[in-house]
């Protein structure tokens, strides 16, 4: 068995883990924004 499946698994795990973390951040940012008054919702207000 070659090492290719392991290599692809390593790249896939990295990509999915980072994408998952970004997804968590997006969800938290939206939750915080919903809890704030409209004028304070954006960072670049």
């Amino acid at each position: 068995m070659t090492d290719a499946p392991y290599v692809y698994a390593g790249y896939a795990v990295t990509a999915f883990a980072l994408a998952g973390y970004v997804g968590v951040l997006v969800r938290r940012a939206r939750a915080a924004a919903r809890a704030l008054p409209p004028e304070e919702r954006r960072w670049n207000r």
Binding site: Y6, A9, G10, V13, Y21, L25, L36, W43
Partner: protein, 244 residues
């Protein structure tokens, strides 16, 4: 995303491009290793994530914690930076361990061994997960920040242990390929592999910066939500007192 700005979108685009190029170079362009064959391609993930976690993320957390503890520079800003950087660092060190485990399976035949480098890295992961857990313990903001800052300084002690583990002890994990002082002028790595490794370090550094900015802004927003909740509670209490 509410924490996005024009600057972070540009940074995000450059980061995504450099990560994609790293993957392309790592999987397709660079040669297989003479001894490790294709398994060596995991170096373009393993080394950059380790660099970003140990020296960048946890280094920034330590520096920010020091700045918070120092009375002249004490500010909530540094506490939030420390926490944000530590969280990103935990993600990166977790990836270092997982990718390293996969790499170990192909080269050593085992997913894990209690080698000095691996063990000290696993300890590093646990220490900073503990740091993040400590930040969630309810307390006055100043007390929580000071307690967390001291914990961060203690956790960082493990970073040099991880770094020097391969020279202090006899380990299964190899010594540094490029950073080894004995081989600085003559690193045993093919040219394209060295450049791809450098590209990977740059790409993951940009990713760290992008994640840190967003994570910090989220912490800032969440703090405003918490302060607002406190203001509302105080206002209600005052209203009740006025009615009495």
């Amino acid at each position: 995303m509410t924490t996005g700005t024009a600057g972070t979108r540009i940074l995000g685009g450059i980061t995504l491009g450099s990560l994609a190029l790293t993957a392309l170079m790592g999987l397709v362009v660079t040669p297989a290793d003479e001894v490790q064959a294709d398994a060596v391609r995991l170096i373009y993930l393993h080394v950059p994530t380790a660099w970003c976690a140990m020296y960048l993320s946890f280094g920034v957390t330590t520096l920010a914690s020091l700045l918070y503890l120092w009375p002249r520079t004490r500010a909530r800003f540094w506490d939030l930076v420390a926490g944000a950087s530590a969280e990103v660092g935990v993600v990166f060190i977790g990836l270092t361990l997982v990718v390293g485990s996969i790499w170990g399976r192909t080269t050593w035949g085992v997913w894990w061994t209690w080698d000095a480098r691996l063990t000290s890295t696993a300890l590093l992961f646990v220490l900073y997960v503990g740091y993040l857990a400590l930040r969630r313990v309810p307390a006055d903001a100043g007390v929580r920040a000071r307690r967390s800052a001291i914990a961060a300084l203690a956790a960082f002690v493990d970073v040099p242990v991880v770094h020097f583990a391969v020279t202090w002890w006899r380990t299964l994990h190899q010594e540094a390929t490029i950073g080894d002082p004995k081989r600085l002028g003559d690193p045993h790595i093919h040219g394209s592999m060295a450049w791809t490794l450098l590209l990977g370090v740059v790409a993951f550094t940009l990713l760290y910066a992008w994640l840190l900015i967003h994570r910090f802004r989220i912490a800032w927003l969440e703090e405003r939500v918490e302060d607002q909740g406190l203001e509302y509670a105080l206002a209600e209490r005052h209203a009740e007192a006025a009615d009495d």
